[in-house]
Point group: C2
Chain length 226, copies 2
DNA sequence: GCCGCAGACAATGCATACAATATCGTCTAC
DNA sequence: GTAGACGATATTGTATGCATTGTCTGCGGC
């Protein structure tokens, strides 16, 4: 799995089989190999991946809670699929929320906080590969959330459970560019202590990300067959 | 384990053991019997509930994704716990989002839609017990979401994963009253086609619910020991 | 006295095996 | 010919057992 020498920097816990299986299935969905409504048979997946059905079941349960699958007792798991509206709304919401967070950051962050965020933004720009980029980006987001909101719920509700995942940027070509530009705009606004500017930067970035995701997922067939 | 005669009315799919275990653990947390940081040992729970460790593991994974537990590979599951800020932010967000949804409903709903919502609101008021109330309320929320937003993501992000669950109202004394009053206010605004009114109704209701939840969870000890 | 390491113990992760449930085809009755 | 019931098969749900990993205790070295 490790494509680069030091696998996932500052990543402490190793991934269990269940987590790997979940990642695999997420990829299948994002890449369009699994389309909406398609049924996942536990045994097939288990055999295909060389594990037993237990980790497959555990992955399915996690993906059900994340919204990728619909899992009904004794009736199997089906790909939930996404509609164009889902994506639009999802990113509109993210924009709303992160705009609010950005405002709070501008209002409350100390100079040190700004410096720390700045450093992370710079690190993102230098990231040699997409994985490191994603990891750093996640740290930046966490930092913003930590400064602006309760640590757990906002993060859990709006960062974890959805479309943003480690392999997200692989499937959305312009994702990294958008993200970097948005972060840069946010940092400029933050340094000028402009709450409005920070809010706008976040909303704009997330609107663009939404469009990019929609384009990518439409191309791969994840979206559209409603 | 079933302590009440007619288990959950109009529940089509029977609950698997995993789901029952998850519900059990959620209750333990909400009632304060499990406090933040406390570790859950799979075998103990299994024995206590008379099942094997498999359904317990599956429940733990689901609760991890819902945010109730922190589950790390090979290191066990710990109660995540809530901070007062978590609750405040959670409800502020819900207010933001449902305010937006309420606006959209006012702008797009047909007379028939209004009638249907009205019927559900009336049914809520008539509900003889708290379970039926919760079920009807959920149908109403789903209806609103369906009218106003993409069906899946908004619902998945903001309804499912968190504090609202079937046994929520048992733990929050004034929950039902607040909810009914808020729905009534929303319906009045809707009938007058007042987007602002609907928005305000939702925000107000959710602010109050947040306060009620905070009070209840502080009393039970779920919140506070940070 | 403190740090690091080795072994035993405890708890988790996963595979196998069996039980429960759904699904589909077939047969019978009308 | 069609509807309903019954069984065969496919698939999921759960229990048990072993392998793996984390944790704790006690010893030796610095």
């Amino acid at each position: 799995m490790s494509t680069h020498g030091r696998t996932l920097p500052r990543r402490l816990k190793r991934e269990s089989s269940s987590e790997q299986v979940a990642e695999h299935i997420r990829r299948l969905i994002m890449s369009g190999e699994l389309v909406k409504g398609e049924r996942l048979r536990q045994e097939d997946l288990a055999e295909e991946l060389g594990v037993s059905r237990i980790p497959v079941r555990e992955a399915i349960i996690a993906l059900d809670r994340e919204g990728w699958l619909d899992f009904e007792s004794n009736r199997g798991a089906h790909v939930a699929g996404l509609a164009a509206d889902d994506i639009r709304d999802h990113y509109e919401l993210r924009g709303l929320v992160f705009g609010l967070l950005a405002r709070r950051v501008v209002e409350t962050a100390t100079d040190e906080d700004v410096k720390a965020l700045s450093a992370l933004a710079a690190e993102m720009k230098r990231a040699p590969d997409i994985v490191e980029f994603a990891v750093t980006n996640e740290r930046l987001i966490r930092q913003i959330v930590r400064l602006a909101a309760s640590p757990r719920l906002t993060a859990a509700l709006l960062v974890t459970p959805a479309i943003m995942h480690h392999d997200f940027y692989e499937f959305v070509p312009t994702g990294r560019k958008n993200q970097e530009a948005g972060v840069a705009a946010f940092m400029r606004a933050l340094k000028q202590r402009s709450a409005d500017g920070a809010d706008t930067a976040m909303r704009t970035m997330l609107r663009r990300q939404g469009q990019a995701v929609l384009a990518a997922f439409t191309a791969s067939g994840v979206v559209g067959r409603e």
